[in-house]
Amino acid sequence: MDEFVNLKETELRLGLPGTDNVCEEKESIISCCNNNNKRALSSDNEKENESSSRKTETSPPRKAQIVGWPPVRSYRKNNIQTKKNESEHEGQGIYVKVSMDGAPYLRKIDLSCYKGYSELLKALEVMFKFSVGEYFERDGYKGSDFVPTYEDKDGDWMLIGDVPWEMFICTCKRLRIMKGSEAKCLSCGV
């Protein structure tokens, strides 16, 4: 089996020989295994440039997009996705998911229903039965264990209230009401 360990020479992929098409977002998902003979997972998809993924030590590894895995029919995948997308871009609403640490399920709210942060925060307080403390530009939210945050287009978790409302509704992908120590770090302006 040893001759198969280094398959770079005979690797099948799109692209010119000698170039290394590494797709930024793909990382290996190989979990620890006892056996050295496991071949590196390679995903190939005619529509994307990819290289065979390699085991990485970085944590947490983001799940690699393996073609055809898990084995769910495209018809089914599309139907769940499009229903998700449809409800998010109804034209009439900007629906985002809201989670709260410790709560068993997520909710969804329409950001376009609110004119600004205070309305939004009030709605969240009612929905999840908590209170948010007071917002300070420099110090974030004080006076509560709960801190409202959101994930923006770049995948970063931001404190709600820092950017102008119009910018917020355009860049917000989802909301999360953090609780406890994690919340403390975010709100102390680190």
Partner: protein
């Protein structure tokens, strides 16, 4: 010398034999039995459209009334077979149109069907009654219109999860006003809105309509009006529920459902909100089949629904049911035979649903008639598998998808070998098995040895070496379809057990270590197998020892096929020629 059964008597006897497996056996007894059998076979099933030529089938079974064909390999469902691979229905339709004009039923699965095919069907078969297309593609709503317009005796028109070029909802209006024969209509995979008034009229004039599966574009109002016109329905696929719930609308919906006293099967339910579920309560006690796999309903709303379904035999649901919901199923749905639990987040971006192996364990304990399982779960344990095997030795189909590749037993960190051993050993009637999670070669030793009745086996990210394939091909007496992806075995076992491949319908291997050289040897050794290499680059441009991306091997009496695209190479039987497309491009 000897008694010879007059063919009329034999014909009469054969008229009682429906099973094609039995008929196949009958046809092997002697020439005269072969002749009588072939002239009386009405329902023909071809599991691989490339295993035999259409002309040969048409010639052999002139009295054919029903044809069922399957095209692409099963892994095409998961995008592992590139577009354009093949599976064209046209040659079959053309041949049957010429030789078997009395054909009444066509059922196709994973095939490429064009509008031309559909038009040909409409034009050629005067008594055409049944068209069922499952996971097919290549046609548009124009083709459907042709069928609707021309087939006067059409009873069944079902488009199941097809990819259809949707040119609008007009196709429905092509059913002539005189058409009253519909028994089943399924257009759930189409996107466009159909004219509700056309649909209402069609339903009103179809007294035999038993099964109606609507597409998401049909509104709740539409649904109510249709149910009022067809209270005799036994199977219903609703449209979308994503519309405002007005109080009067809700009570109308409830009432409409409560008048459908024969409803046994319910599906669709896209976007159904928990507030709507009570409208369904009246039909629950009669339901034997419930497909909630597109309904994003969560717990605890699901329990209220499920606890009313005491007669339920088939349940398809998403993992939103959670372990808790499955406990309810185990308590209330004692007649359950089939359970499928699908992942709500297939792309793994939110894998935090509280569904664990315990859900399946509890159903296995509580539902004594459970025989078919498809279960997606993030991780599993050997202990759970052992319990399932012990409690449910009557399992016929067990498909477990541990979503995390190479995931070991998360409690002991061991491979899931012991668990699958228990399944193979304990479930003696197992016909279909899909394995996943961390598995060593040992697991396959057990499966090879004990899974005597397994006909279809699916494997992904498993095994350590060639031994894995060796165990499977030297055991598994009943194996007909084997599909493997991303497993580290190579040439040795494949070549050693080449003869086994002729006893099977097909073998699919992708992202394994089988070399091009081995494919050539195999093809030469086994003239009645087509060895297809599916690869972006011509295999000859690389060293013979280099692994080939995808291989599809199947037995055939039709020889290499003529319709391969650029990326498929059927290895030529004459080694000097190497590989070729054989088609003239």
């Amino acid at each position: 010398m000897g008694l010879r059964l007059p063919s009329k008597v034999l014909e009469h006897i054969l008229s009682f034999i429906d099973s094609n497996e039995d008929r196949n056996s009958v046809s092997l007894v002697c020439k005269s039995w072969f002749e009588t059998e072939r002239k009386t076979r009405k329902r023909v099933f071809v599991g691989n459209c490339y295993a035999v030529s259409p002309a040969a089938v048409a010639k052999r079974f002139p009295e054919m009334r029903s044809l069922t064909l399957k095209g692409k390999p099963h892994f095409a469902d998961y995008n592992l077979v590139p577009d354009g691979w093949g599976g064209y229905a046209w040659p079959w339709i053309e041949a049957m149109a010429a030789k078997c004009p009395s054909l009444e039923e066509i059922r196709l699965k994973r095939m490429v069907v064009t509008d031309e095919c559909l038009e040909k069907i409409a034009a050629s078969f005067k008594d055409f009654e049944v068209l069922v297309l499952t996971s097919c593609e290549g046609f548009s709503t124009d083709g459907i219109a042709a069928i609707a317009a021309t087939c006067r005796n059409l009873r069944v028109l079902e488009l199941r999860e097809c990819i259809v070029e949707d040119l609008g909802g007009d196709w429905l209006s092509y059913f002539p006003e005189t058409s009253t024969s519909l028994v089943s209509l399924d257009f759930s995979c189409l996107d466009s809105e159909v004219k509700i008034s056309d649909l209402e009229r069609l339903v009103s004039r179809s007294p035999n309509l038993k099964s109606l599966k609507l597409n998401p574009a049909v509104t709740l109002d539409g649904l109510v009006s249709l149910l009022r016109r067809a209270p005799q329905l036994t199977e219903l696929g609703t449209g979308s529920f994503a519309f405002q719930l007005k109080p009067e609308a809700f009570s109308k919906l409830s009432e409409a459902f409560s008048n459908c006293k024969q409803l046994q099967s319910l599906s669709g339910l896209w976007d159904v909100l928990p507030e709507y579920l009570p409208a369904l309560y009246s039909v629950c006690p009669g339901l034997t089949s419930l497909n909630l796999s597109y309904a994003t309903v969560r717990m605890p709303d699901l329990v209220e629904l499920l606890r009313r379904c005491s007669k339920l035999q088939k349940l398809w649901v998403m993992d939103l049911i959670e372990d808790k919901g499955l406990e309810a199923v185990a308590s209330y749905c004692k007649e359950l035979r089939e359970l499928r639990v699908f992942p709500s987040a297939p792309d793994l971006d939110e894998a935090n649903i509280p569904l664990t192996e315990q859900g399946l364990v509890v159903v296995s304990k509580g539902c004594r008639k459970l025989e078919s399982v498809l279960y997606f779960c993030v991780q599993f344990t050997n202990a759970a598998l052992l319990t399932i095997a012990r409690k449910r030795p009557n399992l016929k189909c067990f498909r477990l998808c541990v979503i995390e590749p190479f995931a070991p037993d998360y409690k002991t960190n061991e491979p899931l070998d012991k668990g699958f051993k228990a399944i193979a050993e304990g479930c003696k009637d197992l016909r279909r098995l899909s394995v996943s999670g961390l598995l060593s070669d040992k697991a396959f030793k057990y499966i090879g040895k004990h899974a005597k009745k397994v006909r279809m086996l699916s494997i992904a990210f498993a095994g350590d070496s060639d031994l894995m394939l060796h165990h499977l091909l030297s055991g598994c007496e009943s194996l007909k379809k084997l599909e493997i992806r991303d497993c580290p075995f190579g040439d040795t076992a494949l070549l050693e057990h080449a003869a086994k491949l002729e006893t099977m319908r097909s073998l699919w291997m992708s992202s394994c270590f089988v070399s091009f050289g081995a494919c050539k040897i195999l093809s030469k050794k086994m003239p009645r197998l087509n060895v297809e290499v599916i690869d972006e680059h011509p295999p000859e441009t690389r060293p013979e020892s280099s692994p080939v991306e995808r291989i599809y091997i199947y037995r055939t009496v039709a020889g290499p096929r003529m319709d391969t695209p650029e990326f498929v190479w059927t290895i030529h039987k004459n080694p000097e020629i190497g590989v070729s497309h054989l088609a003239i491009k």
